[in-house]
């Protein structure tokens, strides 16, 4: 198959991008164009390649003989992830050519372009590795390169700390992955992933459970599952926005790919309780992620927390799919898996869009603090519309993409009633209730983001002088914004593709039936949905209504001040703030947030005349405080105690070596005698 060798073309283009970035690093503009457009070119090839794999055969290629065998194995599941990576990279690369202008003359563009291309190669190789050793090498490459991208702006305070937390957490994760793989190797005797699937069937239940749990912890750390998520809200906001878009949009999804791979392909998803664990973790991640997002004022941190939420929603689908699969219901399992994959695709796109949007705001206002924004809809009208489309999509409002995948997730949870078993029915319903709360809070959160950030009056000089984003940035965001809408109104093109992918691990192909007006229905059910019809109706009503309004009644629209009870209050100081907006949620969940506040008032002459009031309010990160801090404290105290033997004198160290040798000799001799 000639099309399969496109794969090497893709890698070659990314390598060209990386190499040219290094060579051209003295000329900022040319370097940016060559390296990012080369990546965009490669991603186009990637889209063609992955679609041809999904509709064709799997592709495998052994690279060389020798002691360590390197090879590629790309089936439909890997091809799907390569597709997601490629779509994201295409838009983000175009965006980047405009975004990096911010760094011209200040930072080395060659360095960024090089890491960017290598980062993408590493993600593609992770999705296509065919053995554990190669996998761990490229996985490590992905982690290290993304670390360097996170600390790209290392001179900013906080960035190095974020990078440090990220690199520590990601290595803890890699450790767990290694153990999980070693369990497989112990049974199969080979590092090849192909043999893992056979080993997964012959392992004892205990080993299976251990392999699953270690893999879940390892990959869960990368995916950002609560409570392993703590690096995510540090690392994603500190990275340059185009890199954040890729990290949130794609990198954390690669971990989801491996969770599916290990639990379905390697272990056969044989235990129902694995599904419940994944479902529970997904539900907790979804609700906690969005709860922290709602009260966050830093837009990039808010988006990072929202990524945790969306990973949670994806895992709810995967968990449900595993429960159904273990119960021997491949149809239900496929539907739940499709819901998860659909949401995964959607999230890559709308979160990529929103991170790029945040980047545009940062680019033109130099602030990420939502309290300093406002009125941007007038300063950056085009960006505002594109970001609004992302917001509508992430809030799962019809007919945008998020709606379809959340609808599918709800439907798959509802399908639990076909199991005729009390426990799953109750668990799935609770998960659905929490998911509904998550969805409503997401709407709250992003309404705050758009309403406070873009509407009304600018709250600071930064926002007042904001300018529209440049053309490549608008094109990048425009691609994602249109995809958010298209994925919402054209599910009948996307679902057949996802059916094929879900079939590759659940074994059930026809999960949906399709009919006129873009309607799709769950096979053997009575429930159907047609977003084109909904969009059509909304449009017809909107036009009809606008026409009627235009024709009848009084047409005068005098412009006047905003109502302020008769007082002239039209200044930004009287606007509602983001903190105030999210206050009800903070009050509602005060047991979680444990808000602390300080008010400092200075008086002028009498206690009735206040001169200034300083108000400060903080919330607690419960998991960081009560789970991680004790661990960190423990590690620090033990290492501090171990410091006693570190005298710093060379004689002492020579003494230690001598002592160790003596002890080892005694050990060997004593061992030899017995």
């Amino acid at each position: 198959m000639s099309v399969n060798y496109l794969f090497f073309g893709i890698i070659a283009f990314y390598l060209i991008g990386a190499a040219s970035a290094v060579i051209l690093n003295k000329k900022d503009a040319i370097c940016a164009y060559v390296s990012f457009l080369s990546a965009a070119m490669a991603s186009l090839l990637g889209i063609i390649f992955s679609i041809s794999i999904i509709f064709g055969d799997t592709f495998s290629y052994a690279l060389s003989g020798g002691y360590l065998k390197f090879g590629f194995f790309i089936d439909r599941l890997s091809a799907f992830f390569i597709l997601v990576i490629s779509i994201c990279v295409f838009a983000v690369s175009i965006y980047s050519t405009g975004y990096v202008r911010e760094y011209f003359g200040k930072k080395n563009i060659g360095y960024l372009g090089f890491l960017y291309n290598i980062f993408i190669i590493s993600m593609i190789l992770v999705a296509s590795a065919d053995n554990a050793v190669m996998f761990l090498i490229v996985w490590e490459l992905m982690s290290v390169v993304s670390y360097f991208l996170v600390v790209y702006e290392h001179e900013k305070p906080g960035t190095r700390k974020a990078g440090f937390i990220y690199i520590v957490m990601t290595h803890i994760g890699t450790g767990f992955i290694l153990v999980s793989f070693l369990i497989f190797v112990g049974t199969s005797g080979s590092y090849n992933f192909e043999t893992f699937a056979a080993a997964g069937k012959s392992m004892t239940p205990l080993l299976k459970d251990l392999a699953f749990i270690f893999a879940l912890i390892g990959f869960g750390t990368k995916a950002g599952i609560v409570p392993l998520h703590i690096w995510l809200p540090y690392a994603h906001p500190e990275a340059p926005s185009n890199v954040s878009a890729l990290m949130s949009g794609v990198m954390i999804k690669i971990a989801i790919f491996m969770i599916i791979r290990v639990s379905f392909d390697f272990l056969g998803a044989s235990q129902a309780w694995w599904g419940y664990v994944v479902l529970a973790l997904g539900t907790i991640s979804a609700i906690l992620g969005i709860l922290y997002a709602v009260v966050e004022s830093d837009i990039k941190r808010m988006l990072a927390f929202s990524s945790i939420e969306n990973i949670g929603i994806i895992l709810i689908g995967i968990g449900a799919s595993m429960i159904f699969f273990a119960a021997g219901k491949p149809l239900l399992s496929a539907i739940a898996a499709i819901a998860a994959l659909y949401h995964l695709l959607n999230h890559s796109i709308f979160k990529g869009l929103l991170f790029m949007g945040a980047g545009s705001i940062l680019f033109s206002t130099h602030t990420k603090n939502i309290e300093d924004l406002g009125g941007l809809i007038k300063k950056m009208p085009k960006s505002a519309i594109l970001i609004l489309m992302g917001v509508l999509s992430i809030c799962a409002l019809p007919p945008f993409s998020g709606f379809i995948s959340e609808w599918l997730t709800f439907q798959s949870l509802l399908l639990g009633f076909n199991l005729n078993n009390t426990f799953p029915m109750i668990i799935l319903s609770i998960s659905a209730a929490v998911l509904a709360l998550t969805g409503a809070l997401a709407a709250f959160c992003f309404l705050k983001f758009f309403g406070i950030g873009f509407l009304a009056l600018p709250r600071s000089k930064h926002a007042e002088h904001a300018k529209e984003a440049n053309t490549p940035m608008l094109i990048g965001m425009g691609i994602f914004a249109s995809l958010s809408l298209l994925l919402g109104i054209l599910p009948f093109y996307v679902l057949p593709l996802l059916e094929k992918i879900a079939a590759s691990f659940t074994g059930n192909l026809d999960s949906f039936t399709f009919s006129n007006f873009g309607t799709f229905a769950i096979a053997s059910g009575t429930t159907s949905l047609s977003t084109p019809a909904i969009l059509g109706l909304v449009f017809i009503f909107m036009f009809g209504l606008s026409a009627i309004i235009f024709l009848i009644g009084r047409k005068r629209q005098p412009v006047y001040e905003t109502w302020g009870c008769g007082q002239p209050v039209s200044t930004s100081r009287n606007e509602y703030t983001a903190t105030a907006f999210s206050k009800p949620v903070q009050m509602w969940f005060k047991n979680l947030y444990r808000p602390a506040r300080e008010t400092e008032t200075t008086y002028s002459t009498s206690p009735y005349l206040k001169e200034s009031i300083k108000f400060e309010s903080r919330i607690e990160q419960v998991i960081e405080l009560h789970l991680y801090n004790p661990i960190v404290d423990f590690v620090m105290t033990t290492t501090r105690k171990a410091k006693i033997i570190q005298t710093g004198s060379i004689h002492a160290y020579l003494g230690y070596i001598f002592g160790t040798l003596v002890i080892l000799f005694i050990f060997v001799i004593a061992g030899g005698n017995t």
């Binding site: 799962a396 409002l397 009633f417 709360l437 109706l537 009503f541 009644g553 412009v559 109502w563």
Partner: protein, 317 residues
């Protein structure tokens, strides 16, 4: 037999024409309970006619969102209206969406109204928008569980199918889990339509208003759309209650004109009864503090959950 297009147009006309009347009846009934005379039941129509003759004063701070929001919200509510059985099942647009789609269409309407509330830069608007989304967030889990309870009983979330099945069950449809789900949804309906104890539709006191605070900047023609949209949503929420739990007498798309006419009369009767029940609740309680509302809505959540559990127990899991 009426052609499908006729049924669709009829449904839109009924929603638009009937919703102000229901609001008028509710106001009149409230006046009756409070031993007042109250305005005529046609007052909402007079108000709208009057508003159409007025200028639409627009704040100098607003963007296109402020102008587009009422139209988008109204269109979303009307679209939802075509997915909800009013007087017939087997709706021509029944295929386009189910109960969950209806919930999300209402969410779309709410989202734009709340967005517009922030557009003028007034604190009132922000307060209203924030509270509205807060109440919505509390409602949502209870609502989803109630939907699950209903869907579980029938085996589908398609509204036409639910009404048809329950109507077909006759008196057997009255069961412990249906009653629990009804009470849960009734509490949700109070919150969704912005009535006491959640919100007070007749207040203009900044400490208490939610919906009124959001739409404070609207006037003239724009206010007509906002108000009519809110009234249409109220009618649709009542219709959901009526036709999910008491769909008896509902016609089918294939019925003759006489059956449909009968179904229509029956429908109006059901809506008026639900409206008056709502008024009875409203006049017998005081408005609750905003931060006590989680208590009210967790009652609804618990009832929905009990409904689910009751179903599992009754049907033997």
């Amino acid at each position: 037999m009426i052609p499908a297009s006729g049924l669709v147009i009829l449904q839109i006309i009924i929603i638009l024409a009937l919703s102000p009347l229901i609001s008028g009846i509710i106001k009149k009934a409230k006046a009756f309970f409070q031993i007042r005379k109250g305005p005529s039941i046609f007052q909402p129509y007079y108000d709208m006619a009057k508003l159409l003759q007025k200028d639409s004063v627009v704040s100098q701070n607003v963007s296109w969102i402020f102008h587009a929001a009422p139209i988008i919200s109204f269109a979303a509510v009307l679209t939802a209206g075509l997915l909800i059985p009013i007087y017939i099942t087997q709706l021509p647009f029944g295929f386009a969406g189910d109960l969950i789609a209806v919930v999300y269409l209402f969410a779309l309407a709410r989202f734009f109204t709340a967005l517009a509330s922030l557009d003028a830069g007034s604190s009132f608007g922000g307060m209203g928008g924030s509270r509205e989304m807060f109440v919505a967030a509390m409602v949502e889990p209870a609502l989803m569980l109630a939907i699950f309870a209903v869907a579980l009983n029938v085996g589908s979330t398609n509204l036409s199918y639910i009404s048809q099945t329950i109507a077909g069950m006759g008196i057997d449809a009255i069961s412990p889990y249906q009653i629990l789900a009804f009470v849960a949804l009734f509490i949700i309906a109070i919150a969704e339509t912005g009535r006491i104890p959640v919100d007070n539709p007749s207040t203009h006191l900044e400490l208490t208003m939610i919906h009124e605070a959001m739409i404070l900047e609207y006037s003239g023609k724009q206010l007509v759309i906002v108000e009519l949209g809110a009234m249409a949503k109220q009618l649709l929420v009542f219709s959901l209650l009526a036709n999910i739990f008491f769909p008896w007498g509902i016609a089918s798309a294939n019925s003759g004109i006489a059956t449909i006419a009968f179904a229509l009369v029956f429908y109006i009767l059901k809506i008026v009864i639900i409206g008056i029940t709502m008024v009875a609740v409203e006049t017998s309680t005081a408005k609750w503090r905003l931060f006590r509302l989680p208590e009210l809505l967790s009652v609804s959540l618990m009832l929905s959950f009990l409904s689910l559990v009751a179903f599992i127990i009754v049907k033997g899991g």
